[in-house]
């Protein structure tokens, strides 16, 4: 299942890098696309604005099939306060831009599953695919707008993963 989580993140990260290179963050001293996996990073008191944060939640496994099917639930969180030069008055537009970006990132809804534990990532014999995004309501916390989007990621477990 870890391969599916890694593949999903790397697919979205690579798509974001080509879709909007300006959405970048300086994290742990390195400039990288503005998306990260929460469980693979240091604990922070407050979520960084203007980036996508992936949080893995539910897990379901169906073994009554010729190949074991795993469903992993992913929450994508993002928050924005708009831009300083506009006094934050553009925060609604900034959130909408992130909504639109996320729709583009999640399309096409599949990627070839890779094993990133090897020195050079190797392709496995199955794909990772995911559902349409389920957008939660826009919430306001002080001067920031937050959004939570839910996506279910599916994959068949390969022989090497069992």
């Amino acid at each position: 299942m870890q391969n599916a989580k890694d593949t999903f993140y790397i697919a979205l990260r690579n798509r974001l890098a080509s879709l909007n290179p300006a959405r970048a963050m300086l994290w742990r001293g390195v400039q990288r696309p503005g998306i990260m996996v929460e469980e693979a990073e240091a604990v922070v008191a407050q979520m960084a604005p203007d980036i996508f944060v992936l949080r893995w939640t539910g897990l379901k496994v169906d073994m009554n099939l010729p190949r074991t099917l795993a469903q992993l639930d992913c929450e994508i969180h993002y928050t924005t306060g708009g831009t300083q030069s506009n006094g934050g008055l553009d925060r609604g537009r900034a959130l909408e831009a992130m909504d639109a970006e996320l729709v583009s990132l999640l399309n096409p809804p599949s990627a070839a599953k890779m094993d990133y534990t090897q020195t050079h990532a190797t392709a496995l014999n199955s794909n990772v695919y995911w559902t349409l995004p389920l957008f939660g309501p826009e919430t306001t916390i002080r001067e920031r707008l937050d959004r939570l989007v839910k996506v279910s990621v599916f994959t068949y477990l390969d022989q090497e993963e069992r």
């Binding site: 300086l26 742990r28 001293g29 922070v44 990133y116």
Partner: protein, 146 residues
């Protein structure tokens, strides 16, 4: 309607006074735990496969004290750390960080006597727009596996 347009010369006095105060109150040393950036650009570092090395940078003078909060079951203790702004400024420069806020945001936490504390909030009292002290609200990190 008027504005005070007189100029004020910014000097290092508030910083020196704050440092002297921290030392006189038993100022000690705390360490900022900083992740090494060498491998963080690769895929493995971003999915939690390769763990960067950590380096502790001492900050002093500093004061570490327990915050008086209502005790709640299962909640970790909270503490306050007061750190000299001159030490923070020097370290931010050394680590090429644009600001102290950026420095604390990028750090893994504060190590005190080999124990890690996570930074929950940072404030900086200022005089004439110059921070002379950094006040950090930290909490004990939960125990982790060996």
């Amino acid at each position: 309607m008027g504005a005070d347009l007189s100029t004020r010369k910014i000097s290092g006095t508030p910083l020196r006074v704050a440092d002297a105060l921290l030392r006189s109150l038993g100022g000690s040393s705390v360490c900022l735990r900083w992740p090494a950036a060498a491998s963080d650009g690769c895929d493995a570092a971003q999915i939690g496969l390769t763990i960067p090395g950590f380096q502790d940078f001492p900050l002093s003078p500093a004061l570490f004290r327990k915050v008086r909060v209502v005790m709640q079951e299962g909640q970790p203790g909270k503490f306050e750390v007061l750190i000299s702004a001159s030490a923070v400024g020097a370290l931010a420069g050394e680590l090429t960080q644009a600001s102290a806020e950026r420095l604390f945001a990028s750090a893994m936490g504060i190590a005190i006597a080999s124990k890690l504390y996570l930074v929950e909030a940072v404030t900086a009292p200022e005089l004439f727009g110059q921070a002379y002290l950094y006040r950090l609200l930290v909490r004990e990190a939960q125990p982790q596996g060996q």
